[in-house]
């Protein structure tokens, strides 16, 4: 129990650290992350799908999310970088898991907004105001996610800026068709995860 509490505190500390000092926190995560910490990310994921189960899908959505996560870490750890494959895989598992934080926040908030202010939006003053808020909120989380993805690759693979950009472009080139495919198959409700 104490062990779980310690890992939970570490998880919270790293999560808040990624908001206020993303660079230093991601560097720390790439060096000394405990596996039990990552368990909390899995718990948050399963909890999300359990909550949405009441409204939408369950197993197929979770399976899709897990497949994308596993494919991402395997793909990134296979790219040429500093260290052996195992070292890179360990680092990428730790740092890439934390890049899911903006995704969680977005999905949990969207779930909440769905019940508080149900769609569709209108072009009235209130509708436009909420649209501005929602686009700004989603945009901020997207930029934060991109920063975390950049830092994750930088510290896990320990490569320079140009190569990080190249790897990110490569990652998107492979992932975007996959996201669209999952959207068409009905695994995800929007064409990205």
């Amino acid at each position: 129990m104490v062990f779980d509490l310690v890992s939970f505190i570490l998880f919270l500390r790293h999560s808040f650290g990624l908001i206020f000092t993303p660079y230093a926190t991601m560097r720390k995560i790439s060096i000394e992350t405990k596996w039990s910490e990552l368990l909390w990310i899995l718990i948050v994921t399963i909890l999300y799908f359990l909550i949405t189960n009441a409204v939408r899908f369950w197993v197929i959505g979770l399976m899709g999310a897990v497949c994308i996560y596993l494919a991402s870490i395997i793909f990134l750890s296979l790219l040429p970088a500093v260290g052996t494959y195992t070292e890179r895989l360990k680092r990428i598992v730790a740092t890439w898991s934390y890049t899911l934080l903006p995704t969680f926040i977005w999905f949990y908030s969207t779930l909440l907004f769905y019940f508080i202010i149900p769609p569709p939006r209108t072009t009235s003053l209130l509708g436009k105001s909420f649209s501005i808020f929602y686009i700004a909120f989603s945009g901020s989380l997207l930029v934060w996610k991109l920063i975390l993805m950049y830092l994750s690759i930088r510290f896990s693979l320990r490569v320079h800026l140009y190569r990080v950009i190249y790897y990110l472009l490569l990652y998107f080139a492979v992932s975007i068709p996959l996201w669209i495919l999952l959207y068409k198959w009905g695994v995800s409700r929007i064409p990205f995860v």
Binding site: I19, F20, T21, P22, Y23, A24, R27, K28, S30, I31, T52, R56, F107, T110, L111, F113, Y114, P118, P119, P120, R121, T122, T123, G127, K128, F130, S131, I132, F133, Y134, I135, A136, F137, S138, G139, S140, V143, W144, I147, R154, F155, R158, H160, L161, Y162, S188, R189, I190
Partner: protein, 78 residues
């Protein structure tokens, strides 16, 4: 106490030297990169949130109905 501080400093030094600093090849570019990079290292939301709000206002102003429809689509996406 002195030994503890020394150990902590050594640990921190090791931590910050795990990767080489970015060198973009052109000194002017490297300097510009370092100046911009500072904003992303500590509390990036201080800059991201105002820019996102301005961007969102611009999008709704330019695209109007389309931007509102995209919000509706995203709201169904959870």
């Amino acid at each position: 106490m002195k030994q503890k501080t020394s150990a902590l400093l050594k640990k921190h030094l090791k931590e910050i030297t795990i990767i080489e600093p970015n060198d973009l090849g052109i000194p002017l570019l490297t300097t510009a990169y370092r100046k911009v990079n500072i904003f992303f290292k500590i509390a990036p939301f201080v800059f991201i949130i105002p820019i996102s709000i301005l961007g969102a206002i611009g999008l709704v102003y330019i695209f109007g109905l389309l931007a509102v429809q995209i919000v509706s689509l995203l709201q169904y996406g959870f």
